[in-house]
Symmetry: C2
Amino acid sequence: MKATVLVRPKDGILDPQGEAVGGSLRRLAFPVTQARVGRLVDLELDTSDAADARAQIERMCAELLANPLIETVEIQLEGDD
Amino acid sequence: MKATVLVRPKDGILDPQGEAVGGSLRRLAFPVTQARVGRLVDLELDTSDAADARAQIERMCAELLANPLIETVEIQLEGDD
């Protein structure tokens, strides 16, 4: 099963990379009022059960993929929009 | 209008960060067969027209946000899943 994990800085957490991107886009004359930069992890999991996959990914986030103090996590499972 | 730009390394492009993440997850006993790491940019745009927003974002990707030689781009507009 394929899944995508979206990791974003929480609201209120300073995001210098996002500020730099937003500033650059505005200098290029794009009408951007805010930009925030996060990361994504595409995973291929050796399970075909969506509930199991989601539970595994939540543990992965807690143990490795994200910092719950400053980041939010969104899990997108394939065929599950 | 809010939008999210997902930037991923193309298939076949080496992704050492993804390999490190995959290896770490396997060492933690997660059943991960592949991991690829990309980035995301959440944008707030000063337009309410979806077609205009998408066109602007495509230009942003070409000019700043992504490298078309090695990266693919997916644009998600709010309320447009």
